[in-house]
C-alpha cells in the first residue's frame, strides 16, 4: 500500500525551482530521510508534501488522493512539525498539547498528553508557558505536538535541531518505533547518527538530481557532504 507518492515533483518559489524533480513512494512503516546541502530544497519539499505550498510541477498524492490539506481526512492522518513556533499567550505547554489532542477527537487527551510529555523529557514543564522553555525544550514540545494526535504519515523538518545528544539518540528510537507501528516517516536531517538510528533510506537532493540511497549507505553519504 502506498501512503505517499511524489511523481516528477518540482518545488520552489515564484516559478523558480529550488530542487531537482523528485519521484518517491512511501508506504506504511517506511522511514525516508531527505538529505542534501543547505539550499537544496529539503524544507520546501516537506512544506509541499504537507500541502502548505503548491508544487511548481509534478504531483503529490497521499492516501491515493492529490494532497489537499483543506480536506479533513488529510489532516487527521498527517502530522507535521516544521520550524515554526508560535504560541497562545496565557496557555501552558500541556494545555497546548491537550488542545491539539482535543482538536483531533482523542479520548483521554490529558492522559495521552502526560504520557507524551514524559516520553519527551519535559513532563516537569507541562505547567510552564512555552516562551519560558529553553530552545531545546521548545523543540521537544513541538515534536510532542505531533505525537499527541493520530497519524499515519509523520513529516518532520530537521527534528534533531537544538536537541541535546541524549535526546537525539532517543529521537532515533522514537522514529523507528513509529515506523514499526506502521506510521510512514519522512524527515529532513543533517544528522548521520539520527539517520543511522532510524534505519532510514535517504532521498539525496543535489544539483545533479534526486537519488534514493539505501539505508546502509545513507549515513555515509550524509557524512560526506555535511
Amino acid at each position: 500500500m502506498t501512503l505517499l507518492e511524489l511523481s516528477g515533483l518540482v518545488v520552489g518559489y515564484g516559478g523558480n525551482a529550488v530542487c531537482p524533480p523528485v519521484s518517491l513512494t512511501v508506504g506504511p512503516g517506511d522511514v525516508v530521510a531527505v538529505i542534501g546541502t543547505n539550499g537544496t530544497g529539503k524544507s520546501t519539499l516537506l512544506r509541499t508534501v504537507l500541502g502548505l505550498q503548491e508544487p511548481l510541477s509534478g504531483t503529490v498524492r497521499a492516501f491515493g488522493r492529490a494532497v489537499d490539506e483543506r480536506e479533513r481526512g488529510f489532516r487527521t492522518r498527517v502530522a507535521g512539525v516544521l520550524d515554526d513556533d508560535a504560541f497562545f499567550p496565557g496557555v501552558t505547554v500541556r494545555e497546548h498539547l491537550v488542545l491539539t489532542a482535543r482538536g483531533h477527537g482523542v479520548r483521554q487527551a490529558g492522559a495521552v498528553t502526560d504520557e507524551v510529555l514524559d516520553h519527551m523529557g519535559i513532563a516537569g514543564h507541562g505547567g510552564a508557558m512555552p516562551h519560558t522553555l529553553s530552545s531545546g525544550q521548545r523543540r521537544r514540545f513541538l515534536l510532542a505536538s505531533a505525537l499527541v494526535r493520530p497519524r499515519d504519515l509523520l513529516v518532520l523538518d530537521e527534528p534533531e535541531q537544538r536537541l541535546d545528544s541524549a535526546m537525539r539518540g532517543r529521537l532515533g528510537g522514537l522514529l523507528r518505533a513509529e515506523a514499526d507501528a506502521g506510521t510512514a516517516v519522512l524527515f529532513a536531517t543533517h544528522d548521520d547518527r539520527l539517520l543511522a538510528a532510524t534505519g532510514a533510506s535517504a532521498l539525496h537532493l543535489s544539483d545533479d538530481g534526486a537519488e534514493l540511497v539505501a539505508p546502509a549507505d545513507a549515513p555515509g553519504v550524509l557524512a560526506g557532504f555535511r
Binding site: Y13, G14, G15, N16, R47, G51, L52, Q53, E54, E69, R70, R72, R75, T76, A79, G80, D84, A86, F87, F88, P89, G90, V91, E95, H96, L99, T100, A101, R102, G103, H104, G105, V106, R107, V112, E115, V116, H119, S145, L147, V148, R149, P150, R168, G169, R170, G172, G173, L174, R176, A177, E178, A181, R193, L194, A196, A197, T198, G199, P219
Partner: protein, 514 residues
C-alpha cells in the same frame, strides 16, 4: 554505523492516539475552549474592557471633531474662485473614496480578510476542526471594519464639502456598501485562491496610480463637478454585490488554505509590531512587500556594476524598478500634485511651494527604496569598500531623480516656468531629505517626554518623525522665495544650489560613536 551504535533502540513505546468522531471538537468549540483556558490563566481585570471601549469612543469623537474643524478651511480652499478653475468638490469626493477603496482592498488582500493569529495557524489549523468555525470571528471583524471605514470614506468628504445631513448619510451609506463589497470581494478571492498570486496585487497597484491620473484628466478636461449625493436607488447595486460576495465568502471558509493563512498571520504580526512601535517602514513592508517571489524585471541591471559607486546605483535602481508599489506611488504623486495645483490658492505663492515640497519629498521617499533597505540593514552598506558618508551621498541619486520627475510633472501642469530652475537644485535637497529619513533608525523611546496641557508629548517620537522632513522644509526655502515672488533670480538659484550641497552633506553625515 548501526542503529544500536547510534543509540536508537532505547525508546519506550509511545501511545497511539486514535481520533473519535464523538469527541471531535468543531472549530468554534476549539477556539472557545482555547479562550476559556486562557481566560482561566489570565483573568481579565474588572472594568478593563469598559475602559478600553471608552478610550476608543473618546478618540473617535476627537478625530471626528478635528475633521469637522478642518472642513471649513478645506471648503474655502476648494471654493476660492481666484482663477475660476479648480478640481471641484465632486472630484475631491470621488478621488478620496476611490483611493480609500483601493487602499482598503490592498490591506484586505494582505492581512486577510479572513485570518487567524499565528498561534491559531500553528495549533488549530492542522487539527481536524473546521476552518469556518475557527476563522468566523475574523470575518465579523473585517465586515465591521470595512463598513465603518467605508462610512467614513464616503461620509467625511461630503461633510467637509458642506453637503446637507441627508446627503452625508446617503454618501456614507454608499461608502459603507462599497467598503463591504471590497472586503467581501477580497474574501472571495481568498477562498477561491485567486488572490494568492501576484495578479490581484498588480491590478490594485495599477489602480493606485490610475485613480489620481483619472482625477487629473477630469480636472483638466471637464467642468468643475459639484459635490454629489448618491441617489438612494444607486445604493442597491453595491449592496447586492456585497451581499452576494459575502454569501460566497462565508460559505466557503473551509476552503481557506493553510499556506495563505500562515502568510497572512505573519504579515499581520509584522504590521501589529510596526503599528505599536510607530514604524512606518515596517508597516509598508508588512503591507506591501511582495514576499518570496523573485522579480525578473531588467535582469541585466545588477550586471552593470563596475565599482562601488555603480554597484550602489545599480543595486538601488534594481530595487526601485522591481518595486511596483514605488513606481505606482510616483505616478500617483505626480498626478496628485498636478491636481492639487488646479486649486487656485495652491497654484502660486506659498501654496505652490507647499505642493512642490510635499509631493517632491514624497516622490523622493518613494524612490528611496535602496536607502530604506540600507537604513534597516546596516550590513548592506558595510559590503561596499567606502565610508558611510560617501555611501549615503551616492544613495541620494535615485531619490533626487524621482523627486525631479514629480516636480517636473507638476511644473508641466501648472505651466509656470519661473521657478523651474530653482526646482532642479530643490530636487537634490528633497532627495537628500529622503535619504536622511531612510537612515533615521528606530524611534529613540528613551528620550524624556514633555508634559503639556494637552497631555504628554513623546519627544523622541516627534524628533524621529521630523528627521528628513526638517531638511525638506528648511532646504527648500529658496524655492519658497521663488514661488512667492514668481521670479527665480540668479541669486536665488545660487542660494538653492548651495542649500542642495549642504543638504547632501547633512544627509550623509554620520555621528561618530565611541
Amino acid at each position: 554505523m548501526t542503529r544500536a551504535q547510534a543509540g536508537g533502540d532505547t525508546a519506550a513505546p509511545l501511545p497511539r492516539p486514535v481520533g473519535d468522531e464523538e469527541e471531535q471538537l468543531t472549530g468554534a468549540e476549539l477556539r472557545r475552549l482555547t479562550a476559556r483556558v486562557r481566560a482561566h490563566n489570565l483573568p481579565a481585570e474588572a472594568g478593563r474592557v469598559a475602559m478600553d471601549v471608552g478610550e476608543v469612543v473618546v478618540s473617535l469623537a476627537l478625530v471626528a471633531l478635528y475633521a469637522w474643524g478642518f472642513g471649513a478651511p478645506a471648503r474655502d480652499l476648494l471654493g476660492s474662485g481666484a482663477t475660476g478653475s479648480g478640481p471641484g468638490p465632486g472630484l475631491v469626493q470621488a478621488m478620496a473614496l476611490a483611493l480609500a477603496l483601493v487602499a482598503g482592498a490592498l490591506v484586505a488582500l494582505r492581512l486577510g480578510p479572513a485570518g487567524l493569529p499565528a498561534a491559531g495557524v500553528r495549533w488549530w489549523v492542522p487539527t481536524a476542526a473546521d476552518r469556518a468555525g475557527l476563522a468566523s470571528p475574523s470575518v465579523v471583524r473585517t465586515v465591521l471594519v470595512s463598513v465603518a471605514a467605508g462610512l467614513v470614506a464616503g461620509g467625511a468628504p461630503a461633510a467637509f464639502l458642506g453637503v446637507d445631513l441627508a446627503g452625508i448619510l446617503l454618501d456614507a451609506a454608499f461608502g459603507g456598501a462599497l467598503g463591504l463589497a471590497v472586503a467581501a470581494g477580497a474574501g472571495v478571492l481568498q477562498v477561491t485562491g485567486a488572490g494568492s498570486g501576484d495578479g490581484a496585487g498588480r491590478v490594485l497597484t495599477l489602480l493606485l496610480a490610475a485613480v489620481p491620473v483619472a482625477g487629473l484628466g477630469v480636472a483638466l478636461g471637464a467642468p468643475e463637478p459639484a459635490a454629489w449625493v448618491v441617489p438612494w436607488p444607486v445604493l442597491v447595486a453595491p449592496v447586492a454585490v456585497a451581499g452576494g460576495a459575502l454569501a460566497v465568502w462565508t460559505t466557503r471558509l473551509d476552503r481557506l488554505r493553510a499556506g495563505a493563512l500562515r502568510a497572512r498571520a505573519s504579515s499581520a504580526m509584522q504590521a501589529s509590531a510596526a503599528l505599536l512601535s510607530l514604524d512606518g517602514g515596517g508597516m509598508s513592508r508588512a503591507l506591501l512587500s511582495g514576499g518570496p517571489t523573485a522579480s525578473r524585471v531588467l535582469p541585466w541591471l545588477p550586471g552593470t556594476a563596475r565599482g562601488p559607486a555603480s554597484a550602489l546605483l545599480a543595486a538601488d535602481a534594481t530595487l526601485l524598478v522591481r518595486s511596483p508599489v514605488a513606481l505606482a506611488g510616483l505616478v500617483a504623486l505626480a498626478a496628485t500634485g498636478a491636481v492639487a495645483v488646479q486649486v487656485p490658492v495652491l497654484a502660486g505663492g506659498i501654496g505652490l511651494w507647499t505642493v512642490l515640497a510635499g509631493v517632491g519629498y514624497a516622490g523622493a521617499v518613494a524612490g528611496a527604496v535602496g536607502p530604506r533597505a540600507a537604513g534597516e540593514n546596516p550590513r548592506l552598506d558595510s559590503l561596499v569598500p567606502w565610508g558611510a558618508r560617501a555611501t549615503r551621498a551616492v544613495r541620494t541619486v535615485w531619490p533626487v531623480l524621482t523627486a525631479a520627475v514629480v516636480l517636473l510633472a507638476v511644473a508641466a501642469t501648472v505651466g509656470g516656468g519661473q521657478w523651474l530652475v530653482t526646482a532642479a537644485p530643490a530636487a537634490v535637497v528633497l532627495g537628500a531629505a529622503a535619504v536622511r529619513t531612510a537612515y533615521r533608525g528606530p524611534v529613540p523611546w528613551d528620550v524624556p517626554m514633555i508634559a503639556t496641557p494637552a497631555g504628554a508629548v513623546p519627544t523622541g517620537l516627534v524628533l524621529h518623525q521630523l528627521k528628513g522632513l526638517d531638511l525638506a522644509v528648511l532646504g527648500t526655502l529658496p524655492l519658497a522665495w521663488a514661488a512667492v515672488t514668481g521670479v527665480a533670480t540668479p541669486s536665488v538659484i545660487a542660494v538653492q544650489a548651495l542649500f542642495a550641497v549642504g543638504a547632501v552633506l547633512w544627509a550623509a553625515h554620520v555621528k561618530r560613536t565611541a
